[in-house]
Amino acid sequence: MDSASIYYLGVTLFLFIVFAAIVARTYRKAHRAKGEEPKFRMMDDDQPKKHDHPET
């Protein structure tokens, strides 16, 4: 295996770690309700909002 292929596989491994971190974050218990919120909010998008993030 030459240096190019090692580099190629190294990048793959790095991206896999990033991906695994995303999965862990998405599925952690604390994130459960917030992670599903957008699917309810998108059902009511007939008009633009007047203000930014009024829920905060």
């Binding site: 295996m1 292929s5 190629y8 793959t12 991206l15 896999f16 990033v18 991906f19 995303i22 999965v23 998405t26 599925y27 994130h31 459960r32 917030k34 992670g35 599903e36 919120e37 957008p38 699917k39 309810f40 909010r41 998108m42 059902m43 998008d45 007939d46 008009q47 633009p48 909002k49 203000h51 930014d52 993030h53 829920e55 905060t56």
Partner: protein
């Protein structure tokens, strides 16, 4: 600019109408070239030959119909999911003009034989440069709209939209790197096997970033809108998105199995292609599970029929694709008619069914009316479904027969059939394919008439209403 409801929707109307025009061109040319294969005497050199018309068919289909309608729905969806108006409607208007200029230039230059000989990247450098300008305008407008959004969290469709914008830009720039020798001719910046590797990294990821992520963005938006029920799991959608993005970009080399690219690159591409089944089917299951308790809508709601059959074809496509990427199977079906059968299940089945649903959903709302005829929409559905199935299934059978004939050997190891003998056996299948294309075209014409009437009725209603 129509700012009713606070969204810039006139531009969406423009993109929808023009994408339908280019879609009609793509299917008309597609049907014609299917007849050219079945009846070679229909080739009229130099302009009306299969070689010149085939790239016009693919460019009009993928870029005219596909990208045109994706531009419409990205603008429509992004405004609504960000709950804000488009960053620059004027820029979007310029984008619509440039889009049509580019597609028209593509058709003319390809008919004249100006071609880089790279599949899905045929356009010579002056037209390709305009594509880059077009994409930058589009991407800036969408990204800036997302930046000024009034929703904190982004719905899954927006992630797919962003991936498309970034992915297409990277792929197009890298694969179109070339050295111009005149206004109408250039040579690739890469050579030999490297060129092939870059081309298929681009070619397969054009499937990812043009024929997968945009229809998924549209599907995730319009399925809940059509059913009135949120998608099953947003978090599953997010994880499926990131795994799709993580895996897709490594798969291009499966087009080069048994070719002189490093063996480990081929194996890596094969492995990632098979792994792609997981995120693809996560989207399919998300669609199916969203229908829990709603399956009766398949009977009652024509939009749901288009969307669910669309995602089903996506599921079948993403099982067939990884199977084809395995060395043994690839050796059998590569360079046979199996491949156009596979591709057209994706384009006519998955992508177009989802786009039909999105257009049926949005056009009546944009023109403040109802769809002109639901029975006509149902007839449209059955015609395009039948046409596409005849096309794909015929080509799969033709591919298996051709592969078996190409691999047949005599006891001394010599080939049993010559190449031309395998071709001669395929005529019945080519007649069937042309017939499938005609049925699909009939469905498309019905759809266009239905939308045309919806628009004209909507305009007439608007004209009689007091200001």
């Amino acid at each position: 600019m129509n700012q009713q409801d606070g969204y810039a929707d006139d531009i969406v109307k423009g993109f929808i109408i023009w994408s339908m025009v280019w879609g009609l061109v793509a299917v008309l040319v597609g049907v014609f070239i299917s007849f050219q294969i079945a009846f070679p005497q229909l080739n009229f050199p130099p302009y009306l030959t299969y070689g010149r018309l085939r790239p016009i068919h693919t460019n009009a289909g993928i870029f005219g119909w596909g990208i045109g309608s994706f531009m419409a729905f990205f603008i429509y969806i992004t405004q609504r999911l960000t709950r804000t108006s488009l960053w620059s409607p004027a820029l979007a208007k310029a984008q619509l003009w440039l889009f049509n200029v580019v597609i028209a230039l593509a058709a003319v230059t390809l008919a004249m034989g100006m071609n880089r000989s790279k599949e899905y990247a045929e356009l010579e450098w002056p037209v390709a440069s305009l594509v880059v300008v077009l994409w930058v305008i589009f991407a800036v407008n969408i990204v800036m709209t997302i930046v000024k959004r009034r929703e904190e969290q982004m719905y899954i469709s927006l992630w797919y939209i962003l991936a498309t914008l970034v992915g297409v830009a990277v792929l197009y720039l890298v694969n179109n790197a070339s050295i111009p020798v005149s206004l109408t001719k250039s040579y690739s910046a890469y050579a030999g096997a490297n060129d092939a590797n870059v081309q298929w990294w681009y070619g397969h990821n054009a499937v990812a970033m043009v024929l997968t992520t945009p229809p998924l963005a549209i599907f995730y938006y319009f399925l809940p809108k059509a059913t009135g029920v949120p998608i099953y799991s947003h978090r599953m959608g997010v994880v499926a998105f990131w795994s799709l993005i993580f895996m897709y970009l490594w798969t291009g080399a499966h087009h080069l199995l048994w070719a002189p690219v490093p063996d480990w690159v081929q194996t890596l591409a094969m492995g990632f292609s098979v792994m792609l089944i997981a995120p693809s089917w996560a989207a399919v299951f998300n669609g199916y599970f969203s229908m829990n308790g709603q399956w009766h809508q398949m009977r009652e709601n024509y939009l749901v029929k288009f969307l669910i059959f669309g995602i089903t074809f996506y599921g079948m496509q993403t099982l067939q694709g990884p199977s084809q990427s395995i060395r043994t199977f690839s050796a059998f079906i590569h360079f046979t008619d199996w491949v156009p059968g596979h591709v057209h299940m994706g384009t006519l089945g998955w992508v177009s069914l989802v786009l039909f649903a999105a257009i049926y959903y949005t056009v009546p709302r944009l023109y403040h009316t109802e769809v002109y005829s639901i029975p006509m929409a149902n007839m449209h559905f059955w015609l395009v479904l039948t046409g596409q199935l005849i096309f794909s299934i015929t080509m799969w059978i033709a591919g298996v027969q051709q592969a078996a004939m190409l691999n047949a050997t005599n006891p001394d190891g010599s080939l049993h059939y010559s190449f031309i003998e395998t071709m001669a056996e395929l005529y019945p299948y080519w007649y069937m394919r042309a017939a499938g294309g005609v049925i699909y075209l009939a469905g498309l014409l019905l759809f266009l008439y239905n939308i045309y009437k919806t628009i004209t009725v909507g305009k007439a209603q608007a004209a009689v209403q007091p200001a």
